[in-house]
């Protein structure tokens, strides 16, 4: 097992002027499950491939443990790409299916057996080792395929959108299986997905990328509670955070009819940016308040989920209609077409610069 370090690693594709991955700096702890997430084209897969040795690194370095692997061939990096190939061989037993890659690598029989038994224990496959794949359930076969990667006991597992092929139900099931398995194995894992829910539910830490640039790397909790910029704020969380460009004058923020004080540093920044500030409020941090005490919103749709209800509405900000989402008490939701007033719960405001998008003190 080992740490993984991206040290200002850059990938510039031939013929392109902008790097696909630009000076990526991440230190991944020993045994950590790190998820790389971001929209299509953000550089997450390229980053993983740089670590795998499939993409050249034009600048910077990549380390596995203390070892600089920047210029090593994929097979010399002691990594395993999981789910790349999970076809099982019908005439071979479960044990043979799991261990044959070690046989090719010339490992002695006893060692192969030992590793296979060890992996089978972790995967709850011990009693099936002498069976043929045909006699296994679908889930057990998936686990045998995972066993193929585990027996190689690599220092790092790499997974590139491994669940994209599965239907929604199996995806949720396999998601928790992979996360649980990774914790039992304790092998450093780098996982790529475009799905922020997958990222937030699986990762010890999540790294958000956009346009080849790392936006933030943090625990899911911290990422949710304390997004470093407007992009992360809007990308993480479902339904997404409400982001509104509002007036801030003389140390006071105007949220419709509501006013709230902002720290001096933030107020000074707002003064320099046309007295505007980007305000973020998560749907669950919106309160229904009395008329005139918040942002006037017309309810377009109410999604009742039992305990809670999501209110989808439109508010007018600077003369422009703006979508608003609020989570309210499911027992007394407003009706479609109703006018309501919404204001943020105290202490749950996110403020960002309208010019740089960076987080400002609240």
């Amino acid at each position: 097992m080992a740490t993984v370090t991206f040290d200002k690693a850059t990938r510039l594709f031939p013929g392109s002027e902008k790097p696909a991955v630009d000076k990526l700096d991440i230190e991944i702890g020993d045994g950590e499950f790190l998820v790389l997430v971001g929209p299509s084209g953000c550089g997450k897969s390229t980053s993983l491939r740089m670590l795998a040795g499939l993409e050249d690194v034009n600048e910077g370095r990549i380390l596995i443990g203390e070892r600089d692997v920047t210029n090593l061939a994929p097979k010399d990096r002691d990594i395993a790409m999981v789910f790349q190939n999970y076809a099982l061989y019908p005439h071979m037993t479960v044990a043979e299916n799991m261990g044959f890659a070690l046989k090719i690598a010339g490992e002695p029989k006893e060692k192969i057996r030992e590793r296979v038994v060890e992996a089978a224990k972790i995967l709850d496959l011990e009693q099936f080792l002498e069976r043929k794949p045909k006699a296994l359930s679908g889930g057990q076969r998936q686990r045998v395929a995972m066993g193929r990667a585990i027996v190689r006991s690599p220092q790092v597992f790499l997974m590139d959108e491994p669940l994209s092929n599965l239907d929604a139900k199996l995806r949720v099931q396999t998601r928790s299986q992979i996360a649980a398995l990774q914790r039992r194995l304790g092998v450093t894992t780098v996982y790529v997905t475009h799905d922020q829910i997958e990222a937030m539910t699986m990762g010890d830490r999540v790294a958000v990328l956009k346009d080849g640039i790392l936006q933030q790397v943090d625990t899911p909790r911290r990422m949710y509670d304390h997004p470093d910029n407007v992009f992360v704020a809007g990308f993480i969380g479902s339904p997404a955070m409400n982001l509104l460009k509002l007036d801030a004058e003389g140390g006071t923020l105007h949220f419709g009819g509501a006013t709230m004080p902002i720290p001096r540093e933030t107020a000074e920044h707002a003064d320099k940016a046309g007295r505007k500030i980007t305000v973020g409020v998560r749907p669950e941090d919106m309160d229904l308040v009395g008329e005139g005490q918040g942002l006037q919103t017309v309810v377009n749709l109410v999604e009742e989920l039992g305990a809670d209800a999501y209110v989808y509405g439109t508010a007018e900000v600077d003369g422009q209609p703006h979508d608003i989402i609020a989570r309210v008490d499911g027992r007394k939701p407003p009706a479609k077409g109703e006018q309501v007033s919404l204001a943020p719960k105290q202490g749950h405001l996110h403020l960002f610069s309208t010019t740089s998008g960076e987080r400002l003190p609240t």
Binding site: L54, E55, E96, I104, K134
Partner: protein, 422 residues
């Protein structure tokens, strides 16, 4: 959502297939029992109006992506199966959604490895299959294609003048790049080696592998063959300026391997004593393109070379060296090639494809002539070949499961999802 067919101009009767039924439950009378490789997905073969198609059930996005990729390979003239279409928006009788289906045209006269291994089982055959696969990988890599899952199961073989030509049949994990990094090539090779060893170990475990074939050693050969082919194709070579004939030698060697030299970088060092030679861009299919241009015959590379050799011999024998090449080629087709093909009774035409028959007739003629101590002539050789050789060969037009080659232990190669997806 309505059933949608994204397709190359093709057979509209594709829409008549039972798309509201999961593929693994399709009635047997719709299917052609061709042997299948080991697949993650449900794959079946169907016959529609004279054509055999392979149908793979897979998620819509993956199907669309693979379809697009196969079409790109086709446009670049790379040896891959022809993508016919993607059926999406499938629902069953209860309105439940079904996975999309990718349809490809089955390669006529093609042989899956399980058929080849269990019918011939010889070490030489295995070696020739590996050579074909290594050549396919080299060709794909020079074109910037990363396969991601190269294996025997994902390849089909066609006979090519005694050797084999390999075709890619599964591009699901593939990626087309401008050029490949060494890391991508190395990893692709590593996957190929692991897959091939796994497939051979599986045949061994099923008692289907000749004892002379060692799975691990055999899979290592792919690597060796690939590397020597790659070096021969793209490696730089340095020699003394006096040895310029070696440029010509190198080009001939490349042509013999079935590759064309598009551009050569020749650098003479400062003191002018040595020359560095580096073939820049190479692509295969020199002979087959030439034959196609001359005769309209579209055949494999080695077959093309064989046919072109015979064309040259014909030209010399008829003493028409000064005649225009196209005109000679036309005469050769009508006076040599076509008469031989026509001499094969209709009932035997499914045995081998015409170019391979012509190649074997030429071999047979040489054999008979040597024994007789004189040239026996083309047509007598053809008649003897049909009676003594071809009649006893198995049909290869569409390899039927029961005819040659399916594993005797387990006739239905098993798929990971065959049961789990039910």
């Amino acid at each position: 959502m309505a059933l949608q067919l994204l397709a190359a101009p093709s057979d509209p009767s594709l829409l008549d297939l039972p798309w509201d039924v999961p593929l693994e439950q399709w009635p047997a009378d719709q299917l052609v029992p061709l042997p299948r490789g080991i697949s993650r997905h449900v794959v079946r073969f169907v016959r529609l109006g004279g054509n055999v198609y392979a149908v793979k059930e897979v998620g819509e996005q993956i199907a669309m992506r693979e379809y697009g990729l196969l079409r790109q390979l086709e446009r670049r003239d790379l040896p891959a199966v022809e993508a016919v279409g993607v059926l999406s928006g499938r629902v069953d009788a209860h309105g439940e959604p079904l996975d999309a289906a990718l349809v490809t045209r089955h390669l006529q006269f093609s042989l899956p490895y399980r058929a080849l291994f269990s019918s011939t089982l010889r070490h030489e055959t295995a070696v020739r299959l590996l050579d074909a696969l290594a050549a396919l990988l080299v060709r794909m890599h020079t074109a910037g294609f990363y396969w991601g899952d190269c294996s025997f199961s994902n390849t089909l073989f066609r006979r090519d003048a005694g050797a084999f030509a390999a075709y890619l049949v599964d591009a699901e994990t593939g990626e087309l790049h401008g050029t490949l990094s060494d890391g991508q090539r190395n990893y692709d090779l590593d996957l190929a080696r692991t897959n091939i060893a796994g497939e051979l170990l599986d045949l061994e475990a099923g008692g289907l592998l000749h004892e002379s074939i060692d799975p691990v050693e055999t899979s290592d050969r792919v690597l060796e063959r690939y590397c020597s082919l790659w070096d021969e194709l793209l490696g730089a070579e340095t020699f003394e300026t006096g040895e310029r004939f070696r440029i010509d030698q190198r080009i001939r060697r490349l042509n013999d391997l079935g590759f064309d030299v598009a551009e050569l970088t020749i650098v003479t060092d400062i003191d002018g004593r040595s020359v560095r030679l580096e073939p820049k861009v190479v692509d295969a299919g020199h002979h087959s393109r030439r034959l196609l241009r001359l005769t309209g015959l579209d055949v494999e590379e080695n077959q093309a070379r064989r046919l072109l050799n015979d064309l040259d011999a014909y030209r010399a024998a008829k003493d028409i060296q000064n005649e225009d090449e196209e005109i000679v080629a036309h005469r050769w087709v009508t006076e040599s090639f076509e008469p031989v093909v026509r001499a094969v009774p209709k009932a035997l035409r499914g045995k081998l494809e015409p170019a391979e028959i012509f190649h074997e007739v030429l071999e047979h003629r040489w054999f008979l002539s040597e024994r007789a101590g004189r040239d026996v002539g083309l047509m007598p050789a053809t008649r003897s070949y049909v009676e003594d050789v071809l009649t006893h060969k198995p049909d290869e037009e569409a390899v039927l499961g029961s005819r040659i080659g399916t594993p005797t232990v387990e006739a239905e190669p098993y798929s990971l999802q065959d049961e789990s997806s039910a």
